[in-house]
Subunit: 218 residues, 2 copies
Amino acid sequence: MRISELSRRSGVPNATIKFYLRKGLLPPGRATAATQAEYDETHLRRLRLIRALISVRGLTVNATREVLSAVSEHEADVHQVLGLALGAKRVDQDGEPDTQPGMSDVDALVARLGWQLSEHTPARGVIAETLETLRSLGTDFSWRALVPYAELAQRTAVLDLDQLKDTDDALERAERAVLLTVLLEPALLALRRMAQEHESAVRHGAIPGPSVPGPGGG
Amino acid sequence: MRISELSRRSGVPNATIKFYLRKGLLPPGRATAATQAEYDETHLRRLRLIRALISVRGLTVNATREVLSAVSEHEADVHQVLGLALGAKRVDQDGEPDTQPGMSDVDALVARLGWQLSEHTPARGVIAETLETLRSLGTDFSWRALVPYAELAQRTAVLDLDQLKDTDDALERAERAVLLTVLLEPALLALRRMAQEHESAVRHGAIPGPSVPGPGGG
DNA sequence: CATGACTGGAGAGTGGCAGTATCCATACTA
DNA sequence: TAGTATGGATACTGCCACTCTCCAGTCATG
């Protein structure tokens, strides 16, 4: 398949495909001549994934490339892929991330939860920054308030990994991990907002209904 | 307080404050003359909130304005504020949102959960879009798979609303709702990623540890 | 009243980024 | 051999979050 067919089948304009090739989002096709290359189904699938990450999730091109290169390089180690820089957070160039204010709170939180994480997971910085911002805004929100949220996040992670169980192929598994981790993020936040609206209405007395389904937690 | 002091106390450049005033993010000060206005502590607090929403959460200026105007207009009705267009999703101009593909799945999901929501909550569209994207990518992910996620989201919402219980002042309450809803979003996603990494390591056999804390769910 | 610093407001300019358009030498295709 | 398509490079567009510049009006001081 050449670039025009790739464009036709994906709905992505020719020029945009070239742009993604240039940016390293899409691996180059198998060159058959100086100005000719052959693309296959994996390119098509990759291209659709790129569009989803960029337009649905709203990732930047750079963040998308990092995610995808992680998928390609660590196909087998899904648990390595999952902790990646998926938030498109800007980095504070060459500064020790450990010196970031609020990071000790994150360490305390992680220790309390008993989580074993790689030291340089960018997610740590995100949490530190959030806590610091909340503090600067004058709230009394501390890392302890995050503990119950973290336990719910852990159950969410259990659901996530359960979704991966029935996939054997390494590449497919890694791609599915990305889909479930990254693409589901806006949906999960939307679910939270809807649940807030419902729960708020319930507490307001307007609507009868159980506050929390299932056992425990409440 | 005049604009320079506002700038000094918030750390936001003079020109940027003017920009926010022009864009309607920051309400104008009390005019004392044709070229003179007086700002107070609420402006300072609002300004810090704006910076947090834009730089920490990554909202666009327009999305931030919508959130803030909602806070101002519905100070008392927190449950109205919570369901808002916080995701900075682009809208498909003048199209009936009900005609969006996948929306019937969202209706089924909401019905299954027993949630009572306003009809035009933008969160519905986000979920529909996500489901549609996952379908177009060839996964077998249906709305039923979202049910357990939604139940966890509901517990998260319970935590969120609990955080608001001890606040009486309407404006403070609405602002706190925004903080917890919007500003916490990146942190919650980060918690999920960290939990995924931990859970994946546990399942991989590398680390001993309980899969899920607390009762139920597992 | 004169002078200079400051103010609010408006328009233009900047830099970054995603995507698009144009060229060009080359390569298939009729 | 003429016409179309390709890959690659470069330049351009449009959007957006600022940021700069200018201006008349205002205030503080002498």
